[in-house]
Protein backbone atom coordinates (compact mmCIF):
# COMPACT_ATOMS: atom_id res chain seq x y z
CA UNK A 1 0.00 0.00 0.00
CA UNK A 2 2.89 2.38 0.50
CA UNK A 3 4.28 4.67 -2.16
CA UNK A 4 7.63 3.97 -3.71
CA UNK A 5 10.35 6.50 -3.29
CA UNK A 6 10.92 8.50 -6.48
CA UNK A 7 13.72 6.97 -8.43
CA UNK A 8 17.09 8.61 -8.76
CA UNK A 9 17.74 10.87 -11.76
CA UNK A 10 18.57 8.96 -14.94
CA UNK A 11 22.01 7.42 -14.87
CA UNK A 12 24.54 9.25 -17.05
CA UNK A 13 24.74 7.73 -20.48
CA UNK A 14 27.52 7.44 -22.92
CA UNK A 15 25.67 8.14 -26.13
CA UNK A 16 25.67 11.90 -25.75
CA UNK A 17 23.68 14.84 -24.51
CA UNK A 18 21.11 14.93 -27.29
CA UNK A 19 19.69 11.68 -26.15
CA UNK A 20 19.85 12.79 -22.56
CA UNK A 21 17.82 15.82 -23.33
CA UNK A 22 15.30 13.75 -25.23
CA UNK A 23 15.00 11.49 -22.25
CA UNK A 24 14.15 14.46 -20.05
CA UNK A 25 11.78 16.17 -22.40
CA UNK A 26 10.02 13.31 -24.15
CA UNK A 27 7.91 12.30 -21.14
CA UNK A 28 6.84 15.86 -20.53
CA UNK A 29 5.98 16.31 -24.19
CA UNK A 30 3.96 13.10 -24.22
CA UNK A 31 2.16 14.09 -21.03
CA UNK A 32 1.49 17.59 -22.42
CA UNK A 33 -1.77 17.05 -24.32
CA UNK A 34 -3.37 15.20 -21.40
CA UNK A 35 -2.22 17.85 -18.98
CA UNK A 36 -3.57 20.60 -21.17
CA UNK A 37 -6.94 18.91 -21.64
CA UNK A 38 -7.35 18.11 -17.96
CA UNK A 39 -6.22 21.59 -16.96
CA UNK A 40 -8.90 23.12 -19.20
CA UNK A 41 -11.48 20.65 -17.98
CA UNK A 42 -10.80 21.13 -14.27
CA UNK A 43 -9.56 24.67 -13.83
CA UNK A 44 -10.90 26.64 -16.78
CA UNK A 45 -14.36 25.11 -16.47
CA UNK A 46 -14.45 25.71 -12.72
CA UNK A 47 -13.15 29.24 -13.13
CA UNK A 48 -15.75 29.93 -15.78
CA UNK A 49 -18.51 28.62 -13.51
CA UNK A 50 -17.21 30.73 -10.64
CA UNK A 51 -17.23 33.84 -12.79
CA UNK A 52 -20.70 33.11 -14.16
CA UNK A 53 -21.97 32.74 -10.59
CA UNK A 54 -20.90 36.33 -9.99
CA UNK A 55 -22.39 37.64 -13.23
CA UNK A 56 -25.91 38.60 -14.23
CA UNK A 57 -26.35 35.64 -16.60
CA UNK A 58 -29.91 34.53 -17.07
CA UNK A 59 -31.03 32.69 -20.20
CA UNK A 60 -27.56 32.55 -21.75
CA UNK A 61 -24.16 33.17 -20.17
CA UNK A 62 -23.29 36.84 -19.83
CA UNK A 63 -20.16 38.39 -18.39
CA UNK A 64 -21.43 41.44 -16.56
CA UNK A 65 -20.19 41.31 -12.98
CA UNK A 66 -22.77 41.73 -10.22
CA UNK A 67 -21.11 40.20 -7.15
CA UNK A 68 -22.46 37.74 -4.61
CA UNK A 69 -26.17 38.42 -4.87
CA UNK A 70 -26.92 35.02 -6.37
CA UNK A 71 -25.32 33.28 -3.41
CA UNK A 72 -27.50 35.29 -1.07
CA UNK A 73 -30.70 34.44 -2.93
CA UNK A 74 -29.59 30.82 -3.16
CA UNK A 75 -29.42 30.45 0.59
CA UNK A 76 -32.77 32.16 1.00
CA UNK A 77 -34.33 29.58 -1.26
CA UNK A 78 -36.37 26.98 0.53
CA UNK A 79 -35.82 24.25 -2.01
CA UNK A 80 -32.05 24.73 -1.97
CA UNK A 81 -32.07 24.39 1.80
CA UNK A 82 -34.12 21.21 1.51
CA UNK A 83 -31.65 19.99 -1.11
CA UNK A 84 -28.61 20.69 1.04
CA UNK A 85 -30.18 19.07 4.10
CA UNK A 86 -31.09 16.05 1.98
CA UNK A 87 -27.54 15.83 0.73
CA UNK A 88 -26.25 15.75 4.27
CA UNK A 89 -28.70 13.08 5.47
CA UNK A 90 -28.30 11.04 2.30
CA UNK A 91 -24.50 11.13 2.36
CA UNK A 92 -24.27 9.98 5.97
CA UNK A 93 -26.76 7.13 5.60
CA UNK A 94 -25.58 6.08 2.16
CA UNK A 95 -21.91 5.97 3.11
CA UNK A 96 -22.51 4.18 6.40
CA UNK A 97 -25.03 1.78 4.86
CA UNK A 98 -22.81 0.92 1.93
CA UNK A 99 -19.74 0.41 4.08
CA UNK A 100 -21.53 -1.73 6.65
CA UNK A 101 -23.14 -3.95 4.02
CA UNK A 102 -19.94 -4.08 1.99
CA UNK A 103 -17.83 -5.04 5.00
CA UNK A 104 -20.33 -7.63 6.16
CA UNK A 105 -20.40 -9.27 2.73
CA UNK A 106 -16.61 -9.14 2.47
CA UNK A 107 -16.17 -10.83 5.84
CA UNK A 108 -18.75 -13.48 5.02
CA UNK A 109 -17.15 -14.23 1.65
CA UNK A 110 -13.80 -14.39 3.41
CA UNK A 111 -15.05 -17.48 5.30
CA UNK A 112 -13.87 -19.69 2.42
CA UNK A 113 -17.35 -20.12 1.04
CA UNK A 114 -18.04 -22.31 -1.94
CA UNK A 115 -18.52 -20.73 -5.38
CA UNK A 116 -16.95 -17.53 -4.19
CA UNK A 117 -16.80 -15.97 -7.64
CA UNK A 118 -20.55 -16.50 -8.10
CA UNK A 119 -21.33 -14.60 -4.90
CA UNK A 120 -18.93 -11.84 -5.83
CA UNK A 121 -20.46 -11.46 -9.27
CA UNK A 122 -23.96 -11.27 -7.80
CA UNK A 123 -22.99 -8.49 -5.42
CA UNK A 124 -20.94 -6.62 -7.97
CA UNK A 125 -23.29 -6.59 -10.96
CA UNK A 126 -25.39 -3.57 -9.88
CA UNK A 127 -22.29 -1.46 -10.42
CA UNK A 128 -22.51 -2.19 -14.14
CA UNK A 129 -26.06 -0.92 -14.42
CA UNK A 130 -26.79 2.72 -15.13
CA UNK A 131 -28.64 4.93 -12.67
CA UNK A 132 -31.38 5.38 -15.24
CA UNK A 133 -32.01 1.63 -15.35
CA UNK A 134 -31.58 1.21 -11.58
CA UNK A 135 -33.97 4.05 -10.83
CA UNK A 136 -36.57 2.85 -13.31
CA UNK A 137 -36.62 -0.75 -12.14
CA UNK A 138 -36.56 0.06 -8.45
CA UNK A 139 -39.34 2.61 -8.91
CA UNK A 140 -41.47 -0.26 -10.24
CA UNK A 141 -40.63 -2.37 -7.21
CA UNK A 142 -41.40 0.46 -4.80
CA UNK A 143 -44.65 1.28 -6.58
CA UNK A 144 -47.54 0.41 -4.24
CA UNK A 145 -49.85 -0.56 -7.12
CA UNK A 146 -47.59 -3.07 -8.84
CA UNK A 147 -44.46 -3.79 -6.81
CA UNK A 148 -43.52 -5.26 -3.45
CA UNK A 149 -46.60 -3.95 -1.63
CA UNK A 150 -48.88 -5.47 -4.27
CA UNK A 151 -47.04 -8.79 -4.01
CA UNK A 152 -47.16 -9.06 -0.22
CA UNK A 153 -50.81 -8.02 -0.07
CA UNK A 154 -51.55 -10.63 -2.69
CA UNK A 155 -50.05 -13.22 -0.34
CA UNK A 156 -52.70 -12.37 2.19
CA UNK A 157 -51.15 -9.61 4.30
CA UNK A 158 -53.78 -7.01 3.46
CA UNK A 159 -52.49 -4.29 5.74
CA UNK A 160 -48.88 -4.46 4.55
CA UNK A 161 -47.61 -1.11 3.31
CA UNK A 162 -44.35 -0.45 1.55
CA UNK A 163 -44.85 2.83 -0.25
CA UNK A 164 -41.57 4.52 0.44
CA UNK A 165 -41.16 6.48 -2.79
CA UNK A 166 -44.59 8.00 -2.45
CA UNK A 167 -44.19 9.13 1.14
CA UNK A 168 -42.67 12.49 1.88
CA UNK A 169 -40.92 11.20 4.98
CA UNK A 170 -39.63 7.94 3.53
CA UNK A 171 -38.77 8.74 -0.10
CA UNK A 172 -35.25 9.83 0.82
CA UNK A 173 -34.65 6.48 2.50
CA UNK A 174 -35.83 4.68 -0.62
CA UNK A 175 -33.08 6.48 -2.50
CA UNK A 176 -30.56 5.57 0.21
CA UNK A 177 -31.60 1.93 0.05
CA UNK A 178 -31.26 1.85 -3.72
CA UNK A 179 -27.93 3.64 -3.58
CA UNK A 180 -26.66 1.07 -1.08
CA UNK A 181 -27.91 -1.69 -3.34
CA UNK A 182 -25.89 -0.31 -6.19
CA UNK A 183 -22.63 0.57 -4.45
CA UNK A 184 -22.15 -1.98 -1.69
CA UNK A 185 -20.66 -4.51 -4.12
CA UNK A 186 -17.93 -2.01 -4.85
CA UNK A 187 -17.18 -1.60 -1.14
CA UNK A 188 -17.31 -5.38 -0.74
CA UNK A 189 -14.74 -5.88 -3.48
CA UNK A 190 -12.27 -3.45 -1.99
CA UNK A 191 -12.73 -4.68 1.58
CA UNK A 192 -12.36 -8.27 0.50
CA UNK A 193 -9.11 -7.57 -1.30
CA UNK A 194 -7.92 -5.69 1.78
CA UNK A 195 -8.76 -8.54 4.12
CA UNK A 196 -6.86 -10.90 1.87
CA UNK A 197 -3.76 -8.78 1.94
CA UNK A 198 -3.47 -8.71 5.73
CA UNK A 199 -0.29 -10.34 6.94
CA UNK A 200 -1.10 -14.03 7.48
CA UNK A 201 1.48 -14.45 10.25
CA UNK A 202 -0.32 -11.96 12.44
CA UNK A 203 -3.54 -13.90 12.09
CA UNK A 204 -1.87 -17.24 12.74
CA UNK A 205 -0.23 -15.85 15.82
CA UNK A 206 -3.56 -14.64 17.10
CA UNK A 207 -5.13 -17.99 16.35
CA UNK A 208 -2.45 -19.77 18.31
CA UNK A 209 -3.16 -17.41 21.19
CA UNK A 210 -6.73 -18.69 21.06
CA UNK A 211 -8.38 -15.47 19.90
CA UNK A 212 -11.92 -15.88 18.59
CA UNK A 213 -12.80 -15.13 15.01
CA UNK A 214 -14.74 -12.03 16.02
CA UNK A 215 -11.75 -10.80 17.99
CA UNK A 216 -9.36 -11.44 15.11
CA UNK A 217 -11.48 -9.33 12.77
CA UNK A 218 -12.05 -6.58 15.26
CA UNK A 219 -8.52 -6.33 16.58
CA UNK A 220 -6.34 -7.29 13.64
CA UNK A 221 -8.03 -7.43 10.26
CA UNK A 222 -10.24 -4.34 10.32
CA UNK A 223 -7.59 -2.00 11.75
CA UNK A 224 -5.16 -3.33 9.15
CA UNK A 225 -7.39 -2.24 6.29
CA UNK A 226 -7.86 1.29 7.64
CA UNK A 227 -6.52 2.95 4.48
CA UNK A 228 -9.12 1.09 2.43
CA UNK A 229 -11.85 2.48 4.65
CA UNK A 230 -10.65 5.98 3.90
CA UNK A 231 -10.47 5.31 0.15
CA UNK A 232 -13.96 3.78 0.05
CA UNK A 233 -15.28 6.65 2.14
CA UNK A 234 -13.91 9.26 -0.26
CA UNK A 235 -15.17 7.48 -3.36
CA UNK A 236 -18.65 7.04 -1.87
CA UNK A 237 -18.85 10.60 -0.62
CA UNK A 238 -18.12 12.02 -4.02
CA UNK A 239 -20.74 9.68 -5.51
CA UNK A 240 -23.20 10.99 -2.93
CA UNK A 241 -22.44 14.63 -3.60
CA UNK A 242 -22.96 14.16 -7.31
CA UNK A 243 -26.24 12.23 -6.87
CA UNK A 244 -28.46 13.18 -9.77
CA UNK A 245 -29.70 10.48 -12.12
CA UNK A 246 -30.73 8.08 -9.37
CA UNK A 247 -33.04 10.55 -7.64
CA UNK A 248 -34.40 11.78 -10.98
CA UNK A 249 -35.27 8.28 -12.14
CA UNK A 250 -36.55 7.06 -8.78
CA UNK A 251 -38.63 9.93 -7.45
CA UNK A 252 -38.09 12.87 -9.81
CA UNK A 253 -37.19 14.91 -6.72
CA UNK A 254 -40.64 14.33 -5.20
CA UNK A 255 -43.09 13.84 -3.59
CA UNK A 256 -43.32 17.60 -3.65
CA UNK A 257 -39.76 18.78 -3.20
CA UNK A 258 -38.89 16.17 -0.57
CA UNK A 259 -36.03 14.48 -2.43
CA UNK A 260 -34.41 17.38 -4.24
CA UNK A 261 -30.61 17.21 -4.33
CA UNK A 262 -28.13 20.01 -5.05
CA UNK A 263 -27.17 18.54 -8.43
CA UNK A 264 -30.84 18.42 -9.46
CA UNK A 265 -31.24 22.00 -8.31
CA UNK A 266 -28.25 23.11 -10.37
CA UNK A 267 -29.61 21.39 -13.44
CA UNK A 268 -33.07 22.83 -12.95
CA UNK A 269 -31.85 26.38 -12.55
CA UNK A 270 -29.26 26.37 -15.26
CA UNK A 271 -31.31 24.62 -17.90
CA UNK A 272 -35.00 24.56 -17.11
CA UNK A 273 -35.44 28.00 -15.62
CA UNK A 274 -32.84 30.10 -17.33
CA UNK A 275 -31.20 31.25 -14.09
CA UNK A 276 -27.71 30.36 -15.12
CA UNK A 277 -25.97 32.60 -12.59
CA UNK A 278 -27.79 31.22 -9.56
CA UNK A 279 -27.37 27.70 -10.93
CA UNK A 280 -23.64 28.34 -11.21
CA UNK A 281 -23.60 29.60 -7.62
CA UNK A 282 -25.25 26.35 -6.55
CA UNK A 283 -22.67 24.41 -8.56
CA UNK A 284 -19.88 26.23 -6.75
CA UNK A 285 -21.46 25.18 -3.45
CA UNK A 286 -21.31 21.56 -4.64
CA UNK A 287 -17.63 22.02 -5.42
CA UNK A 288 -17.12 23.43 -1.94
CA UNK A 289 -18.79 20.35 -0.49
CA UNK A 290 -16.42 18.21 -2.56
CA UNK A 291 -13.49 20.23 -1.28
CA UNK A 292 -14.60 19.59 2.28
CA UNK A 293 -14.20 15.90 1.52
CA UNK A 294 -11.07 16.08 -0.61
CA UNK A 295 -8.83 18.52 1.21
CA UNK A 296 -8.65 16.54 4.46
CA UNK A 297 -8.10 13.40 2.42
CA UNK A 298 -5.18 14.90 0.52
CA UNK A 299 -3.66 16.24 3.71
CA UNK A 300 -4.03 12.84 5.30
CA UNK A 301 -2.29 11.22 2.36
CA UNK A 302 0.59 13.65 2.48
CA UNK A 303 0.91 13.16 6.21
CA UNK A 304 0.83 9.39 5.87
CA UNK A 305 3.50 9.38 3.20
CA UNK A 306 5.82 11.52 5.28
CA UNK A 307 5.23 9.38 8.31
CA UNK A 308 5.93 6.17 6.46
CA UNK A 309 9.09 7.49 4.93
CA UNK A 310 10.44 8.40 8.34
CA UNK A 311 10.11 4.95 9.83
Amino acid sequence: MSETIPMAPPAPQRKGRLRDRAATWLPIAVLGPSLFATFVYVFVFTGWTLYISLSNSSLLPSYEFVGFEHYASLWENRRWNVAYTNLFIFSVLYVIGTMVVGLLLAILIDQRVRAESVWRTIYLYPLAVSFVVTGTVWSWLYSPTSGIEFLVRGLGFESFTFAWTTSRELALYAIVLTGVWQASGFAMALFLAGLRSVDQDLIKAAQIDGASMFRIYRRIMIPAIGPIFIAVLVVLLQFAIKTFDLAIALTGGGPGIATTFPAIYVYDLMFQRGQIAEGAAAAIMILLALAVVLVPYSLWRVWRRRFELQI
Binding site: M1, L104, S298
Partner: protein, 297 residues
Amino acid sequence: MTAVAAYDPLATAGAWRRSRAKIGVYVVLGIFAAWYLLPLFVVILNSFRDLPEIAENGLIALPRSFSFSAWGEAWSSFCVGGTCEGMQRNFYNSLMMTIPATIISTAFGAVNGYILSKWRFRGSEWLFGAMTLGVFMPGQIALMPWAFILGNLGLTNTISGLVLIHVVQGISFTTLFCRNYYLSIPDDLIKAARIDGAGFWRIFRRIILPLSPPILIVTVIWQFTGIWNEFLYAVVFSSGRGQPITAALIALSTNGTNVRTYDVMSAAVLIGALPPLLIYFFGGRYFIRGLTQGAIK
Protein backbone atom coordinates in the same frame (compact mmCIF):
# COMPACT_ATOMS: atom_id res chain seq x y z
CA MET B 1 -3.31 -14.11 -2.55
CA THR B 2 -2.13 -17.71 -2.47
CA ALA B 3 -1.52 -17.58 1.25
CA VAL B 4 -5.23 -17.33 1.86
CA ALA B 5 -5.81 -21.02 1.38
CA ALA B 6 -3.82 -21.77 4.49
CA TYR B 7 -6.19 -19.93 6.73
CA ASP B 8 -9.75 -20.71 7.64
CA PRO B 9 -11.07 -18.22 10.17
CA LEU B 10 -13.74 -20.61 11.33
CA ALA B 11 -11.16 -23.26 12.13
CA THR B 12 -10.81 -21.68 15.55
CA ALA B 13 -13.99 -23.32 16.76
CA GLY B 14 -15.21 -26.86 17.25
CA ALA B 15 -16.69 -28.96 14.46
CA TRP B 16 -20.35 -28.48 15.38
CA ARG B 17 -20.03 -24.76 15.94
CA ARG B 18 -18.13 -24.54 12.71
CA SER B 19 -20.78 -26.14 10.55
CA ARG B 20 -23.52 -24.16 12.27
CA ALA B 21 -21.64 -20.95 11.65
CA LYS B 22 -21.10 -21.96 8.07
CA ILE B 23 -24.83 -22.43 7.53
CA GLY B 24 -25.36 -19.00 9.03
CA VAL B 25 -22.87 -17.54 6.59
CA TYR B 26 -24.70 -19.03 3.62
CA VAL B 27 -28.09 -17.92 4.91
CA VAL B 28 -26.96 -14.30 5.24
CA LEU B 29 -25.21 -14.38 1.87
CA GLY B 30 -28.37 -15.85 0.36
CA ILE B 31 -30.60 -13.15 1.81
CA PHE B 32 -28.38 -10.44 0.40
CA ALA B 33 -28.16 -12.23 -2.93
CA ALA B 34 -31.96 -12.29 -3.11
CA TRP B 35 -32.04 -8.54 -2.52
CA TYR B 36 -29.41 -7.95 -5.21
CA LEU B 37 -31.00 -10.25 -7.75
CA LEU B 38 -34.65 -9.27 -7.27
CA PRO B 39 -34.64 -6.40 -9.79
CA LEU B 40 -32.76 -8.46 -12.35
CA PHE B 41 -35.20 -11.36 -12.07
CA VAL B 42 -38.18 -9.05 -12.23
CA VAL B 43 -37.00 -7.42 -15.46
CA ILE B 44 -35.99 -10.68 -17.07
CA LEU B 45 -39.32 -12.34 -16.27
CA ASN B 46 -41.38 -9.32 -17.27
CA SER B 47 -39.65 -9.07 -20.60
CA PHE B 48 -41.21 -12.43 -21.48
CA ARG B 49 -44.67 -11.80 -20.03
CA ASP B 50 -47.72 -10.32 -21.74
CA LEU B 51 -48.81 -6.85 -20.73
CA PRO B 52 -52.35 -7.80 -19.62
CA GLU B 53 -50.94 -10.54 -17.45
CA ILE B 54 -48.48 -8.09 -15.82
CA ALA B 55 -51.34 -5.69 -15.15
CA GLU B 56 -53.33 -8.43 -13.49
CA ASN B 57 -50.67 -10.17 -11.40
CA GLY B 58 -48.33 -7.30 -10.65
CA LEU B 59 -44.71 -6.82 -11.60
CA ILE B 60 -43.32 -9.44 -9.26
CA ALA B 61 -44.84 -12.73 -10.28
CA LEU B 62 -43.92 -15.92 -12.04
CA PRO B 63 -44.81 -15.80 -15.73
CA ARG B 64 -48.09 -17.33 -16.78
CA SER B 65 -47.59 -16.23 -20.33
CA PHE B 66 -44.50 -16.40 -22.47
CA SER B 67 -43.45 -14.58 -25.60
CA PHE B 68 -40.46 -13.00 -27.23
CA SER B 69 -42.51 -10.24 -28.78
CA ALA B 70 -41.41 -7.57 -26.29
CA TRP B 71 -37.79 -8.19 -27.20
CA GLY B 72 -38.50 -7.88 -30.90
CA GLU B 73 -40.48 -4.72 -30.35
CA ALA B 74 -37.86 -3.12 -28.12
CA TRP B 75 -35.07 -3.97 -30.51
CA SER B 76 -36.55 -3.16 -33.87
CA SER B 77 -40.03 -1.68 -33.91
CA PHE B 78 -40.74 0.40 -30.81
CA CYS B 79 -41.46 4.04 -31.63
CA VAL B 80 -39.15 6.41 -29.86
CA GLY B 81 -37.92 9.81 -30.96
CA GLY B 82 -40.24 9.86 -33.94
CA THR B 83 -38.94 6.78 -35.69
CA CYS B 84 -40.21 3.28 -35.20
CA GLU B 85 -36.94 1.42 -35.44
CA GLY B 86 -36.68 0.33 -31.84
CA MET B 87 -33.39 0.68 -30.02
CA GLN B 88 -31.08 -0.90 -32.54
CA ARG B 89 -29.88 2.42 -33.92
CA ASN B 90 -29.28 3.85 -30.43
CA PHE B 91 -27.45 0.69 -29.52
CA TYR B 92 -25.19 1.05 -32.54
CA ASN B 93 -24.59 4.75 -31.75
CA SER B 94 -23.60 3.87 -28.21
CA LEU B 95 -21.11 1.29 -29.44
CA MET B 96 -19.61 3.77 -31.89
CA MET B 97 -19.17 6.23 -29.04
CA THR B 98 -18.12 3.91 -26.23
CA ILE B 99 -15.55 1.71 -27.95
CA PRO B 100 -13.26 4.45 -29.34
CA ALA B 101 -13.61 6.59 -26.21
CA THR B 102 -12.71 3.62 -24.01
CA ILE B 103 -9.69 2.63 -26.07
CA ILE B 104 -8.30 6.14 -26.46
CA SER B 105 -8.76 7.16 -22.83
CA THR B 106 -7.21 3.90 -21.65
CA ALA B 107 -4.23 4.36 -23.97
CA PHE B 108 -3.63 7.87 -22.68
CA GLY B 109 -4.04 6.68 -19.10
CA ALA B 110 -1.46 3.94 -19.56
CA VAL B 111 1.16 6.28 -21.03
CA ASN B 112 0.43 9.01 -18.50
CA GLY B 113 0.57 6.55 -15.65
CA TYR B 114 3.89 5.24 -16.96
CA ILE B 115 5.36 8.75 -17.05
CA LEU B 116 4.00 9.78 -13.67
CA SER B 117 5.32 6.66 -11.98
CA LYS B 118 8.55 5.91 -13.82
CA TRP B 119 9.68 9.18 -15.39
CA ARG B 120 8.98 11.58 -12.61
CA PHE B 121 10.23 15.09 -12.94
CA ARG B 122 10.16 18.13 -10.72
CA GLY B 123 6.51 18.95 -9.99
CA SER B 124 5.14 15.75 -11.48
CA GLU B 125 3.50 14.79 -8.19
CA TRP B 126 1.64 18.06 -8.16
CA LEU B 127 0.55 17.64 -11.75
CA PHE B 128 -0.69 14.17 -10.91
CA GLY B 129 -2.67 15.54 -7.98
CA ALA B 130 -4.23 18.21 -10.20
CA MET B 131 -5.14 15.65 -12.86
CA THR B 132 -6.95 13.43 -10.37
CA LEU B 133 -9.22 16.35 -9.49
CA GLY B 134 -10.96 15.67 -12.80
CA VAL B 135 -12.43 12.54 -11.23
CA PHE B 136 -14.56 14.67 -8.97
CA MET B 137 -16.06 17.20 -11.40
CA PRO B 138 -19.88 17.17 -11.40
CA GLY B 139 -21.25 16.81 -14.92
CA GLN B 140 -23.62 19.75 -14.70
CA ILE B 141 -20.74 22.20 -14.30
CA ALA B 142 -19.00 21.14 -17.47
CA LEU B 143 -22.06 21.12 -19.70
CA MET B 144 -22.04 24.69 -20.94
CA PRO B 145 -18.26 25.03 -21.41
CA TRP B 146 -18.27 21.80 -23.39
CA ALA B 147 -20.99 23.17 -25.63
CA PHE B 148 -18.80 26.18 -26.33
CA ILE B 149 -15.74 24.07 -27.10
CA LEU B 150 -17.59 21.58 -29.29
CA GLY B 151 -19.15 24.48 -31.19
CA ASN B 152 -15.77 26.00 -31.91
CA LEU B 153 -14.35 22.69 -33.02
CA GLY B 154 -17.35 22.06 -35.26
CA LEU B 155 -18.15 18.87 -33.36
CA THR B 156 -21.62 19.63 -31.97
CA ASN B 157 -24.09 16.82 -32.33
CA THR B 158 -21.49 14.36 -33.57
CA ILE B 159 -20.34 11.08 -32.14
CA SER B 160 -16.76 12.41 -32.38
CA GLY B 161 -17.72 15.26 -30.06
CA LEU B 162 -19.01 12.81 -27.47
CA VAL B 163 -15.86 10.72 -27.85
CA LEU B 164 -13.73 13.81 -27.21
CA ILE B 165 -15.66 14.66 -24.04
CA HIS B 166 -15.44 11.16 -22.67
CA VAL B 167 -11.74 10.88 -23.46
CA VAL B 168 -10.89 14.14 -21.68
CA GLN B 169 -13.07 13.35 -18.69
CA GLY B 170 -11.81 9.79 -18.61
CA ILE B 171 -8.11 10.61 -18.62
CA SER B 172 -8.24 11.54 -14.94
CA PHE B 173 -9.61 8.12 -14.03
CA THR B 174 -7.36 6.09 -16.26
CA THR B 175 -4.22 8.01 -15.30
CA LEU B 176 -5.02 7.57 -11.61
CA PHE B 177 -5.59 3.83 -11.97
CA CYS B 178 -2.55 3.15 -14.15
CA ARG B 179 -0.13 5.33 -12.24
CA ASN B 180 -0.97 3.67 -8.94
CA TYR B 181 -0.66 0.27 -10.47
CA TYR B 182 2.69 0.95 -12.13
CA LEU B 183 4.10 2.05 -8.78
CA SER B 184 4.17 -1.61 -7.86
CA ILE B 185 6.49 -2.43 -10.78
CA PRO B 186 10.03 -2.33 -9.35
CA ASP B 187 12.06 0.67 -10.50
CA ASP B 188 15.10 -1.59 -10.79
CA LEU B 189 13.57 -3.18 -13.87
CA ILE B 190 13.39 0.20 -15.55
CA LYS B 191 16.89 1.17 -14.44
CA ALA B 192 18.33 -2.00 -15.80
CA ALA B 193 16.60 -1.47 -19.12
CA ARG B 194 17.92 2.06 -19.38
CA ILE B 195 21.44 0.96 -18.68
CA ASP B 196 20.99 -1.48 -21.54
CA GLY B 197 20.15 1.51 -23.72
CA ALA B 198 16.38 1.12 -23.95
CA GLY B 199 14.50 4.36 -24.53
CA PHE B 200 11.20 5.73 -23.31
CA TRP B 201 8.91 3.93 -25.74
CA ARG B 202 10.91 0.74 -25.80
CA ILE B 203 10.68 0.36 -22.03
CA PHE B 204 6.96 1.03 -22.22
CA ARG B 205 6.46 -1.60 -24.93
CA ARG B 206 8.78 -4.27 -23.59
CA ILE B 207 8.41 -3.96 -19.83
CA ILE B 208 5.36 -1.96 -18.85
CA LEU B 209 2.78 -3.19 -21.36
CA PRO B 210 3.36 -6.90 -20.78
CA LEU B 211 2.77 -6.31 -17.05
CA SER B 212 -0.31 -4.15 -17.64
CA PRO B 213 -3.24 -6.46 -18.49
CA PRO B 214 -4.76 -6.48 -14.97
CA ILE B 215 -4.97 -2.70 -14.78
CA LEU B 216 -5.95 -2.28 -18.41
CA ILE B 217 -8.87 -4.60 -17.82
CA VAL B 218 -9.95 -2.46 -14.88
CA THR B 219 -9.77 0.79 -16.80
CA VAL B 220 -11.53 -0.69 -19.81
CA ILE B 221 -14.37 -1.99 -17.63
CA TRP B 222 -14.61 1.24 -15.71
CA GLN B 223 -14.55 3.44 -18.78
CA PHE B 224 -16.84 1.27 -20.86
CA THR B 225 -19.57 1.08 -18.22
CA GLY B 226 -19.24 4.74 -17.31
CA ILE B 227 -19.44 5.98 -20.89
CA TRP B 228 -22.12 3.53 -21.94
CA ASN B 229 -24.33 4.49 -18.99
CA GLU B 230 -23.78 8.24 -19.12
CA PHE B 231 -26.98 10.12 -19.69
CA LEU B 232 -26.63 13.92 -19.53
CA TYR B 233 -24.05 14.45 -22.27
CA ALA B 234 -25.59 11.69 -24.34
CA VAL B 235 -28.82 13.65 -24.50
CA VAL B 236 -27.42 17.15 -24.84
CA PHE B 237 -24.60 16.56 -27.31
CA SER B 238 -26.35 14.33 -29.80
CA SER B 239 -29.09 15.00 -32.25
CA GLY B 240 -31.72 13.35 -34.38
CA ARG B 241 -30.78 9.84 -35.32
CA GLY B 242 -27.43 10.07 -33.54
CA GLN B 243 -28.73 9.66 -29.99
CA PRO B 244 -27.08 7.04 -27.77
CA ILE B 245 -29.03 4.38 -25.95
CA THR B 246 -29.52 6.20 -22.64
CA ALA B 247 -31.59 8.81 -24.49
CA ALA B 248 -33.93 6.08 -25.70
CA LEU B 249 -34.08 4.50 -22.23
CA ILE B 250 -35.10 7.75 -20.57
CA ALA B 251 -37.77 8.20 -23.24
CA LEU B 252 -39.16 4.79 -22.39
CA SER B 253 -39.06 5.29 -18.64
CA THR B 254 -40.72 8.72 -18.54
CA ASN B 255 -43.53 8.49 -21.00
CA GLY B 256 -45.86 11.15 -19.64
CA THR B 257 -49.49 10.50 -20.31
CA ASN B 258 -49.09 7.18 -22.06
CA VAL B 259 -49.84 3.69 -20.81
CA ARG B 260 -46.77 1.98 -19.40
CA THR B 261 -45.68 -0.92 -21.53
CA TYR B 262 -43.80 -2.79 -18.82
CA ASP B 263 -42.97 -5.73 -21.08
CA VAL B 264 -41.27 -3.64 -23.75
CA MET B 265 -39.62 -1.43 -21.15
CA SER B 266 -38.20 -4.50 -19.42
CA ALA B 267 -36.74 -5.82 -22.65
CA ALA B 268 -35.37 -2.36 -23.47
CA VAL B 269 -33.81 -2.02 -20.03
CA LEU B 270 -32.08 -5.36 -20.48
CA ILE B 271 -30.85 -4.50 -23.97
CA GLY B 272 -29.54 -1.20 -22.65
CA ALA B 273 -27.76 -2.86 -19.73
CA LEU B 274 -26.47 -5.90 -21.56
CA PRO B 275 -23.02 -4.78 -22.82
CA PRO B 276 -21.76 -3.52 -19.44
CA LEU B 277 -23.31 -6.52 -17.70
CA LEU B 278 -21.53 -8.93 -20.03
CA ILE B 279 -18.28 -7.11 -19.46
CA TYR B 280 -18.74 -7.43 -15.70
CA PHE B 281 -19.66 -11.08 -15.87
CA PHE B 282 -16.60 -11.95 -17.90
CA GLY B 283 -14.15 -9.46 -16.47
CA GLY B 284 -15.38 -9.27 -12.89
CA ARG B 285 -12.61 -11.34 -11.31
CA TYR B 286 -9.89 -9.28 -12.98
CA PHE B 287 -11.74 -6.15 -12.05
CA ILE B 288 -11.57 -6.84 -8.33
CA ARG B 289 -7.93 -7.81 -8.48
CA GLY B 290 -6.85 -4.86 -10.58
CA LEU B 291 -8.97 -2.39 -8.68
CA THR B 292 -7.30 -3.21 -5.41
CA GLN B 293 -3.88 -2.95 -6.94
CA GLY B 294 -4.58 0.22 -8.81
CA ALA B 295 -7.30 2.37 -7.47
CA ILE B 296 -6.83 2.63 -3.79
CA LYS B 297 -3.16 3.14 -3.16
